[in-house]
Structure formats: C-alpha cells, structure tokens
Subunit: 331 residues, 2 copies
C-alpha cells in the first residue's frame, strides 16, 4: 500500500483517526484505569498498530473477540496476556500461538474444546443480564470444577454488562452495572481465581467490582457513545468526497459499505443526513457545497465501521501522520 503524502490525495472513502483526540482518549483512560486495570478490547479498532500504543501506555493484556484477533496480536509480539472473551468450539488454532492464551468458557462443550486443543487457562463466562454467552451464575462453580478436572487453570470469571453500557442515564447505568456485578461476584465466590473481568467504555468508571475492564470503543469513539456523559472525544470519521450537488441536498461517496449501520445513520457537521446507499450518503448541508469538496462522516458505531476498511489513516489537522493496516479483520 503506497503512503499518500497529502490528505486531499487520499482515495475516498477513507477511514481517518484524529491523532490528538486518540492520544487524549488513551491518556484519559489509562489515567483512570492504569496498567492491568484495563484490558483493552481490540475488536473496536482491529489494528495492531493502535494496540501497540495501548501497550505503550502500560496495558499489557488485551481482550479479543475472534481467533484472528488473538493470532494477529500474538504475531505482532503483543501476546503477553491475551483473553479471548468469547466462546469457541474449535480452539486448535489458539494452541499454536506464541502468547499467554486465556479463553472464555460457559459450557461442557467449550471446556472440552479448550482442553482438547491443549490450552492451559480459562475464565468462566457468566451471564450477568445480557442474553448472549455466559452460563447462569449458579452454574459457574460446577463449570470451574469441570475445567480443573480437565487440567485447565481457572483464572476467574468474566461477565459483560452489555445491557448497561449504552444507557444514557448515569444513575440507571450504575444501578444495572451494580446489579450485574453482584451476580458476577457471587459466581466468583464459587469459581475462585484472581480475575474478575467485565465492563466496557460506558461503564469503565462505574464498575468497581471488576479487577479489569474490557473497554475498547473509548479509543476511537462513535456518535452513539459520544451522546453519553463520557470524557472521550470522537476520533473516528470517514473522509468522503462530494460527487453530486442538487438544490437542497448533496451526495458524498461514503455509504453502507464504509459504515456500520446497526446504530443508525452517521452524522455530518452542519448537515442533516437523509439516507445511505451502498456507496453514497445523501444529506442536506447548511451551505451549498461544491462537487469535489470533502466532508467528514461520523459513524454511529465504531466496530462494524472499522471492519469494512483495509486501513486507517492517522491525521493531524490536514496532515497525514501515518497509515495503519486494519490487520485483525476476518476470522
């Protein structure tokens, strides 16, 4: 991949990260959760270059959602303590990694998968209120016993309060988090081990029960998280080119294949976004734009946006600082 010299020569749509805002977000978080208190989740950025910056700030352990993310971090020399915070039924690729590997388990089948693959360590994944993976809290102790009987080290418990992280009202967010952590700590009593892994960007400062927080979105942010009362700045946008202008709207080349859309439409400054098509966003700007002009499109959900792009450009004002491959994509 050639490295363009000027930002205005980038082929659009192009994923941009504001360098100063990224730095501020990383600093704010590591001030609040230093060292191993934070286990950054790489699913939000899928980028080993960005993970390296997190490691340089003292966070030696990482959280992953896929085997591919685990492999990529290990290959990049960032394998000091990798947690696959997700269930897998075929763990064989994980046993080949040059890394400390811990995997979440919530059933006899996933424990067997970890043991059969020759892995050494697991966390018992507990359902704390989000209907997704995780065993019922009162099953956690039995699963820990089963894991130990298969020769696996049980490092502790994990439980993601995903139903709380996006709640706008802080009081309600705190209440749901406390309720979830009560379940997790009860399971922890039965399971043992030193790790209580939980949390996300929305609850990083209201989850006192977890020994480590699995936040990821804080580094780049999106318009959904920016609507909460969090001290992190929007750092991720998609640079787009205006390709058509009508009397009351304009069209730029950033569409459904450059944006995660599950949280809704993206935002454009001083404009009302009407809709997105495969390769277009149609929007009503406050002033008349001209064809060829560039606009920043701000995604509503960082994770599925980043996953569409082969690389991300670190920028400072109009200067292109560096280009990073989004090298943890795929499975």
């Amino acid at each position: 991949m050639g490295r363009p010299v000027r930002l205005d020569e980038l082929q659009t749509p192009a994923l941009l990260v504001e360098a100063e805002r990224l730095d501020a977000n990383l600093r704010t978080m590591s001030d609040a959760l230093p060292g191993t208190r934070l286990r950054p989740h790489v699913k939000a950025h899928k980028c080993t270059a960005l993970a390296r910056r997190q490691a340089q700030r003292g966070h030696a352990g990482f959280t992953c959602a896929t085997i591919r993310e685990m492999e990529g971090l290990a290959a990049a020399g960032l394998g000091e303590d990798l947690l696959l915070a997700n269930e897998v039924v075929d763990a064989r690729r994980l046993s080949a990694l040059d890394a400390r590997v811990t995997v979440a388990v919530d059933s006899a089948e996933t424990i067997a998968a970890a043991a059969d693959a020759g892995l050494h360590e697991v966390l018992i994944d507990v359902n704390v209120g989000l209907p997704r993976c995780g065993c019922a809290p009162d099953r956690a102790g039995a699963l820990a016993d089963l894991a130990r009987s298969r020769g696996l080290g049980v490092r502790g418990v994990m439980g993601y309060e995903g139903h709380a992280v996006g709640i706008a009202d802080r009081g309600e967010r705190e209440r749901l988090t406390a309720e979830s952590m009560e379940k997790l700590l009860a399971a922890h009593v039965d399971v043992g081990g030193e790790v209580v892994s939980a949390g996300g960007t929305g609850t990083y400062d209201c989850n006192a029960a977890a020994t480590e927080i699995q936040a990821g979105s804080y580094a780049l942010m999106d318009t959904t998280y920016a609507a909460l009362d969090l001290p992190f700045e929007l750092a991720l946008s998609v640079l787009a080119t205006v390709v058509s202008v009508a009397d009351d709207y304009a069209v730029a080349d950033c569409g459904l294949k450059a944006l995660g859309m599950d949280h809704g439409k993206p935002a454009i400054e001083d404009a009302e976004v009407w809709f997105c098509s495969d390769e277009h966003v149609t929007f009503a700007p406050a002033r008349r734009l001209h064809v060829g002009e560039r606009v920043r499109v701000w995604p509503s959900h960082v994770d599925p946006t980043v996953a569409y792009h082969a690389c991300v450009h670190l920028v400072s004002g109009d200067r292109l600082v560096e280009t990073w491959p989004v090298d943890l994509r795929g499975w």
Copy 2:
C-alpha cells in the same frame, strides 16, 4: 487461501452461496433479459468469478459502483463494456484500464474529470425521483452538449428508479417506474445516443423503457427482496456455529461484522432472531440446539453483507463446490 475439503470444517462465520439456486437465478434472469438487455451490477456480489458466470450466460457488459470494481473486472478480462454507474471527480485510474469504459456524469465537474482523464465515453445520469446522483431532467441536454464539446462520446442516459425497486405492491412499483422512465425518456430526447440504462432487481420485469437493466441482487438475493413477488431464490447465507445455548435462546458466531444491517435483522429458519452483536446473533430456536451445531443466517441486505467477507463458498447441499475470492472489495 487453502480450500477446505468439507463444509463442516469451514471456519465460521462463512459466506455461502447455494449453487443450484444461483444457477436458477442466473437462468431466470437471462431468459427474461437476454444478452445486452441485462447489464449485471457487480456491486451486489463483488466477485469476478460470479461475474464470469454472468458473462457466460451472454451478458457482456457490466455495471459497477466503484473504480475498484471497474479495475477488477478489466483485470479479469471482463472489460468488453464496463459502465461506472456513479460519479467520480478523479477518473485517472479509469484511463489505465484495458477495457471499454463508460462513466456516468451529472455535472460540469464530473464531465471535466472524465475529459481530463482522457476517457472517451459517458452517460448523462438523470435524477428520475431518487434524491441521489443525477441531474435534473431538463439539464441533461445541456450537459450532453458540454460533454461533446469536451470530446466525449455521449452514449445516452442513465436513471435509477431506486425509490421504486423495493416497493412491495407491484402496481405501485410499476406506476413509480413508469413515472421515472417518462422523465428519463424526455431527457433522452435531448441527449441522444443509443443507451437508456436503468432498473434493478425489483423492476427488471416492469421497466420496458430502458434498453438495458442494471440488476445485481437477483443473483444472490436477500430476505428484503425475497419478500417481493420476484422469481428469484434466496441463494446467500452466512454459515454460523452455535457457541452457547441457554434455556430459551441460543447464540451463534455471526454478528454485525458479517452482516449488512441497514435493512434490519437477519433471519434464521425455525427461529426468532433477537439481536446481533459484533460477533454474535442471539436467537430463540423452535427446538433446543446443541453447542457446535451449525445454522444458516440469511441476511436482509446482500450488498453490505458480501462486502464484509474475503471469500464466498459455493455449496451444493453439504458439499463445498468451490471457493471464490470477493475480489472487488475496497475502493
């Protein structure tokens, strides 16, 4: 990329295409719109191997949405007649292609871009009711004159009735299409040329005005188009593995990074889909599933789903026939 021998050994999530249904869809469409009456849109599948099958059925010309799609088709030897049905303000990469290249223009700026790049042929893109690209119908003649004055050959007009293609009621769909084509034909009188390019999968059989139809979704389909009264079968699914089972729901490893979500949730047979997370779908199955079992997840929108995947597996029953790279991704 290694080619797995058995379908049940595929790493999930994995994009699958049912070979027989794909064949049936290609046949149905080329029976209805033989040869150059169809100009297949490759944005829906982004796959030169699939485009080659369309070419083998007699469709020598293709429609593209991005420069990358144009480049990929040309490099694959499928460049007999390529239309970039989209506006670009920097057309220089197109002039290097070993292909017949036509590009849509709707402004003085995009005409200048085509001329400056040394391209030879354009279509005048006309707004026929969808607020996206395209000039006002009464501006088309003047733009054609401008293009000719810059040495460009004007092959005719293009106008996409995108606001009609998804309408469930056939009568209303026909009415909107007729209304749109009235505008396009009026512009065509002013523009001249032999091409009237329009249409999509939803209007392929009710647009008699266009000389060529730009349908793409018909080959693979999605649950949104399948809800219309069209003779095409759902051929595209994502194979997923059940990784966790609770009393009233199950979780499989196919989420927001494997599915276009702008048209809503995917479908799973004999199950109610609750929600998707980055790497998960949570659903309530009619019967209790077991961890490790595989399910097919049917996307609601084909185009942004395919764009997440590096390859697509052609399958026949439980047999893996072939693996095709999704080689037209990116920009």
